[in-house]
Amino acid sequence: MKPFLLILAILFGTLCCFCPLSAKAQQMVITPDMQFSYADSLYLAKDHETAIVEFKRFVHFFPGDERRQEAEFKIAMCLYRQQHYHDAAKAFNRIILQQKLTPFTRESYFLQARAFMEMGNTGYAQVVLQNFLKLTEDVDTKDKIYQELARMHIASAASLDTGTLETAQSYLALISPGNAERFGVHRQINTLEKAQTAHQKNPVLSGIFSIIPGGGFLYCGRYKDALVSFFLNAGLMVAAYEAFDNDNTALGGVITFVETGFYTGNIHGAITAAHKYNKAQKITILNREFSLGPTLDAENNGLGFSLNHPF
């Protein structure tokens, strides 16, 4: 009986000793490296949605890790790539507010400005970079800011802000000689000069020509619009005259009202056509150096312009 009890005791002891160990062995301990590399692999695989969750998990469980700022930066980058520009701008802002000037903070300034640009808020994008310009002493960073500010002004040239291209040119001129060649500054300045001296239509003249319906359209090279405008307005004028001539004042009034809309519309259209022509000329020249593509501003249901240039 004794050996049986002894074996039982040994078995019990063994179970007591190994069971907790084996359970412990099955427990997964995630280290900061494992968490970060997993999140990073998702980031590299462009699985932005999951990468954000995993980077947030990293920040939550390992707040003291030296890669915390990198994780926060990559969260902001994921949001930016997902085109959640408002959230991305806020995420970049959190990094900027950390005061410590690291490579991630520097990039955050540029990317926050780009997020504002994407949202159509060019003014605030410029403010972000102007603030950064005051904070930094590094020449390379300053040159990059000048380049970025010039890029913004060129992009907003599409909205016909007067003096935009001149401002872009003045920013490019501020780039240090060391980086000027690397950025292709002279080539860009030449393109800007050509864009500024491009053939233009005078909107005022176009409006004056529209006194004869279709004249403004004709001046802007829109021959079909000119023809339709001329005959439509002439027809309505004759109809109104005939109606009044036949003592049909009610009908004459209605036709006159309609005609007034088409006549003033013809003037408005002609002036707009001249502005559109000038804008198109400018963009055609700028497209030779930069990549200005028309995009649709979904928020405002309007036209926007994106600018890409390999720096």
């Binding site: 808020n121 619009d225 339709v228 439509l232 009908l251 209605v254 088409f262 259209g269 707009t272």
Partner: protein
């Protein structure tokens, strides 16, 4: 003096002008139609008339947006301007966009009022 029925016909033509003679479709105008005439046109006349407008937003949607944005007077002027330009030179000058596989010329209100109405001034800092 014109007969009464002819006069009624001409008044109806005027109403059609007002709402936009070109065929319209609702697809590009997301907001609610506040103008009852335009709403009537888009809901009852346009489906019968068919989708013939080659521009996007359609002429009636453009008119609704212009009136909503600039008021009745400027909206009316811009709508008339659009009716003259619809499907002509604008198709070769403005970018196009495919809707239901059909090419449409992109010509929103913002592409025509940019030289006198600046929306960017109204934008505020969105981050805080």
């Amino acid at each position: 003096m014109l007969p009464r029925n002819k006069l009624t016909g001409l008044v109806l033509i005027f109403c059609l002008y007002f709402t936009g003679i070109s065929a319209a479709q609702n697809q590009d105008f997301a907001g609610p139609d506040k103008n009852i005439i335009l709403q009537f046109f888009q809901e009852h006349l346009s489906p019968v008339d068919g989708n013939r407008c080659t521009m996007t937003p359609s002429c009636s949607a453009y008119a609704a947006r212009a009136i909503e944005k600039h008021g009745l007077l400027m909206g009316w002027i811009m709508a008339c301007d659009r009716l003259v330009r619809c499907g002509r030179d604008e198709t070769t000058l403005s970018p196009s966009r495919h809707i239901n596989g059909e090419p449409h010329t992109l010509d929103p209100v913002e592409a025509n009022d940019f030289w006198w109405f600046n929306t960017s001034e109204k934008k505020k800092s969105p981050v805080k």
